[in-house]
């Protein structure tokens, strides 16, 4: 495959994508870096000169910084755990013979088609509202005090909303992966005397390793930057302020572009730490 001709052609054909993405990455990145060293306040005359690392230290020393990192990691981690675990169970369930399999699959996938804003609105108003939400009725129906979801259990609530949106994605990928499991392997393990549980643990789960990796990787990228769900539901209150949200507050609410840009640089660093961490733990599954 690898002749000189095809290699140079390959380079040429990769060029548009690489150049575009490079531009898409570099231009904003350099501008972000540039702003992050400036006192840049659009409301007060814009560029007010260089300030060195002041924005960085200020962003870091803000009382909101570490809680925002914790919140980010909790949300990403929580959603990953829920979607992967439930995704596996659902994928296995949906792979069983049943009546109306196609329709059930559609039902399960449907949340993926819902805009984040819409789903946040629906959950917040129609389900989690402590007075009018359906969940409140449910609690009252069983004689319990309705939970004030978004204030008393804010992180779990957001994790739940986001999990609801991403569960279909995990389920889909895991489902296709399960479908690719060699039937003979399962039969062999059955002949070897493995119980259904043992088959799951020893055969199915290892087979899914690669798909799980992919789910984790892609979801992490999207989850690190969730915004609408928080904006609509808690507005960053009750400990749900993620790093992305904190940057949003700095840039758009406080109109401090310099400070926000420094936050952006931190966010990139965090994303890369998470990515490297992921690669270390699960990355080798990608090659297999």
């Amino acid at each position: 495959m690898a002749t000189q001709h095809s290699r140079s052609a390959a380079r040429l054909m990769m060029a548009p994508a690489v150049v575009l993405l490079l531009g898409w990455m570099l231009i904003p990145l350099t501008m972000t870096l540039y702003f992050s060293f400036k006192k840049y306040l659009p409301m007060r005359g814009g560029d007010l000169g260089w300030v060195g690392f002041e924005n960085y230290s200020r962003f870091l020393s803000s009382s909101s910084f570490w809680p925002s990192i914790t919140a980010t990691l909790m949300i990403v981690g929580g959603v990953l755990i829920i979607t992967v675990v439930l995704g596996i169970l659902l994928a296995i369930l949906l792979n069983q013979p049943m009546w109306g399999q196609g329709v059930v699959r559609i039902l399960v996938i449907a949340p993926f088609f819902v805009m984040p804003t819409v789903s946040a609105l629906v959950w917040k108003n129609m389900f989690m509202d402590p007075n009018y939400g359906l969940l409140a009725y449910l609690w009252k129906f069983f004689g319990a005090q309705p939970v004030e979801w978004l204030s008393q259990a804010s992180l779990p609530s957001i994790i739940m909303i986001v999990s609801w949106q991403w569960l279909p994605f995990a389920t889909l990928i895991l489902l296709t992966a399960i479908q690719s499991l060699d039937g003979e392997q399962l039969e062999a393990s059955e002949m070897d005397g493995a119980s259904p549980l043992a088959r799951f643990g020893y055969i199915v789960l290892p087979h899914l390793a690669r798909a799980i990796t992919i789910v984790i990787l892609i979801q992490t990228i999207f989850l690190l930057s969730i915004f609408a769900e928080i904006f609509v539901t808690t507005g960053g209150a009750f400990g749900t302020k993620t790093l992305t949200y904190l940057i949003f507050q700095r840039v758009l609410e406080s109109q401090n572009v310099g400070l926000g840009s420094a936050g952006g640089v931190y966010a990139i660093i965090l994303a890369n730490i998470v990515a490297i961490f992921l690669m270390r733990i699960v990355g080798k599954n990608l090659d297999a």
């Binding site: 052609a9 501008m31 049943m98 039902l107 009018y132 296709t176 690719s180 039969e187 930057s225």
Partner: protein, 276 residues
């Protein structure tokens, strides 16, 4: 595994799966249902399921209030356009990575994905300024470009995994048969990868359709898609659950219908190379 599953087992499977399926779908179902209620029934205590006076009033109010058709058209053009443009750029790139791999291929792929890690809010100002300068503000073209760029890594990656499943020998055969690179891509690779390309298209239409940050911030009136439409309903004065539901239903209906019809494609296609 062609042993007959016992009927009981199948009944249990069906019951559990439908139960869970309906539970997961319930919020959407409830939204759709609420959209046919009056505001009073929407927050009635206890909630009513079916025995209420069905009304289309909410829809007519929403239609009257905003130009749904234009939002919808914009959504279709932006989601479709960015996806198609993305595919055109991604196919050659994915071809290169899949069939002329170099030691750096994996790094490039991961790098591409990493471009998605840039927090959007952090770069809003730079991008906004660029858009003003290039006259792309509030244009569909501008959004098509931006959404294409954010989804490009995913498109490339998905196509890459599909292409990797195509035996290289077939492409070599075409080369032996005298096909130029272009002909190889057009006559052989693309048609063979149709299922993969189709599900890539689909996933990206969904992602583009639901993208809310850039579509909201880079548009005003002319190019605003459904995400902007929904932003005008989120918290008006009073809790207009029924109208909110109607608007929500209208915002997600087109993509839901598209997803509904392409479920099979999505299930079989969304492998990300998981199938080996």
């Amino acid at each position: 595994m062609a042993r007959a599953v016992t009927r009981n087992r199948k009944i249990i499977n069906t019951a559990v799966a439908w139960g869970i399926g309906l539970l997961i779908f319930f919020p959407i179902f409830w939204t759709i249902l609420t959209s046919f209620k009056t505001e009073a029934t929407a927050i009635a205590d206890p909630p009513v399921l079916f025995n209420f006076h069905w009304t289309l009033e909410n829809y007519s109010v929403v239609m009257e209030r905003s130009n749904y058709g234009r939002f919808l058209t914009n959504s279709i053009i932006i989601a479709g356009g960015s996806t198609i443009l993305g595919i055109i750029i991604a196919v050659p790139a994915a071809w290169s990575m899949a069939f002329v791999p170099s030691p750096r291929t994996k790094d490039i792929l991961l790098w591409m994905l990493s471009t998605k890690m840039l927090p959007a809010v952090g770069v809003l100002y730079p991008i906004y300024l660029m858009f003003i300068r290039m006259g792309l503000l509030d244009t569909r073209l501008g959004l098509v470009i931006v959404l294409m760029l954010i989804n490009l890594p995913i498109i490339v990656w998905m196509l890459y995994t599909y292409f990797k499943e195509i035996p290289g020998e077939i492409l070599e055969a075409a080369r032996m048969d005298g096909a130029s690179l272009k002909e190889e891509l057009i006559y052989i690779l693309t048609p063979m990868a149709i299922p993969g390309i189709a599900s890539t298209l689909l996933l990206n239409v969904i992602l583009a359709w639901n993208e809310a940050f850039w579509t909201l911030n880079l548009t005003a009136a002319k190019a605003a898609p459904l995400t902007a439409f929904i932003a005008s309903y989120s918290s008006p004065e009073g809790l207009f659950y029924a109208k909110l539901s109607a608007a929500s239903t209208m915002a997600i209906a087109p993509i839901l219908i598209l997803g509904w019809f392409s479920q099979k494609q999505l299930v079989s296609g969304l492998t990300f190379g998981a199938v080996k």
